[in-house]
């Protein structure tokens, strides 16, 4: 989860999020170079006397056409690489359906018999000591770690969005439509997210908690719930 006053990304817990963080660092470095150049040019302009000596500016026009093209290529190539990486077809080990309601999530494990549950936020008045306000839920999404999981997101009433920042996933939940995304957690842990599409009065109070566990623990949990 995010710390208070945190502005940057949360720690990456999936390979895709690691790539996104690296691309973000790359983009910031390019932005630093551009800002340095612009600051210097601003300083030059402010200290230069105005004159009308320039009548032909072929060289500078060439520079400020080619340089932005190079910058765009530097940014576009890794961006497209990640974009196609996110759409790679992998063979998921598990399919999970996330259905958005006002104002809770329903999860269906269709690979198992009758494994369906609702996930409501734990109110602050009932929150145990040490737990996170507005982030904890009564039933977490349990998934096996280091396994590709297919998540099908939809909604029952209005638009919602299923988002977990540390896994690099944000998928709109649209009534009447099935959106598919894929996640792979690199290590066991608990990952928090919140609904990311305005959906009414309690839009801020329908969090998502994904708990990634080793496979034997996941099998124990699923057999307990489906029996």
């Amino acid at each position: 989860m995010a710390n208070h006053l945190q502005l940057g990304f949360q720690d990456a817990s999936s390979p895709i999020m690691e790539e996104l963080v690296e691309f973000h660092d790359h983009a910031l470095m390019v932005a630093l170079a551009i800002c340095s150049l612009v600051l210097y040019l601003l300083t030059l302009m402010l200290t230069e006397k105005l004159s009308s000596n320039t009548v032909d500016a072929q060289e500078i026009e060439l520079i400020w056409t080619i340089l932005p093209a190079i910058v765009l290529i530097l940014l576009a190539l890794p961006s497209l690489q990640i974009l196609y990486m996110m759409d790679e077809i992998n063979e998921p080990d598990l399919t999970l359906k996330a259905i958005g309601h006002q104002w809770y999530w329903t999860y269906e494990y269709t690979d198992f018999k009758d494994l369906t549950f609702d996930s409501y936020m734990v109110p602050s008045t009932e929150l145990p000591l040490g737990h996170f306000r507005l982030l904890e839920v009564d039933h977490r999404v349990i998934i096996p770690m280091e396994s590709p999981i297919r998540i099908i997101v939809t909604a029952n009433d209005v638009l919602h969005s299923w988002a977990v920042p540390s896994l690099g996933v944000k998928t709109d939940a649209i009534p009447g439509r099935l959106n598919q995304t894929s996640i792979l957690t690199a290590r066991p842990g608990v990952y928090y997210g919140q609904c990311s599409e305005i959906c009414g009065a309690n839009h801020s109070y329908m969090p998502i908690v994904v708990e990634s566990t080793p496979l034997p623990h996941f099998e124990n949990w699923s057999s307990l719930l489906s029996s």
Partner: protein, 114 residues
């Protein structure tokens, strides 16, 4: 102790956290050194202040970006090697003693049917 907190959270131009981004600190430092070398060298050669400043800024940008790409490329190679090592260690544990064990295939004459 306020200055210690300031050093820990320093962000260049307000957005680049050079402490936590890999290769950022070295890129900026090498860029600064490159800028000094190129700018000072040009000034010593030509005694033109304004043009030397232009070269210094250009040298900063080129050196910083050049080292950045070099360092990030090496970092990516290292991460690929780490992943291959992790995968190899896991496969070794999984397949040790089985028919899929690559070491068994290499020393096939020494191992008898068990």
């Amino acid at each position: 102790m306020v200055w210690v907190f300031f050093l820990q959270s320093f962000k260049l131009l307000g957005f680049l956290d050079v402490q936590s981004v890999p290769c950022a600190r070295e890129s900026v430092l090498y860029g600064s050194v490159g800028s000094l070398v190129v700018g000072l060298g040009h000034f010593l050669a030509t005694s033109r202040v304004r043009r030397s400043c232009d070269f210094a800024v250009g040298g900063f940008i080129c050196t910083m970006l050049g080292y950045w790409f070099y360092c990030r490329y090496n970092l990516a190679q290292q991460r690929i090697r780490q992943r291959m090592l992790k995968e190899g260690m896991r496969n070794r544990i999984l397949f040790e003693g089985s028919s899929l064990d690559p070491e068994r295939k290499l020393t096939g004459n020494e191992r008898s049917d068990s």
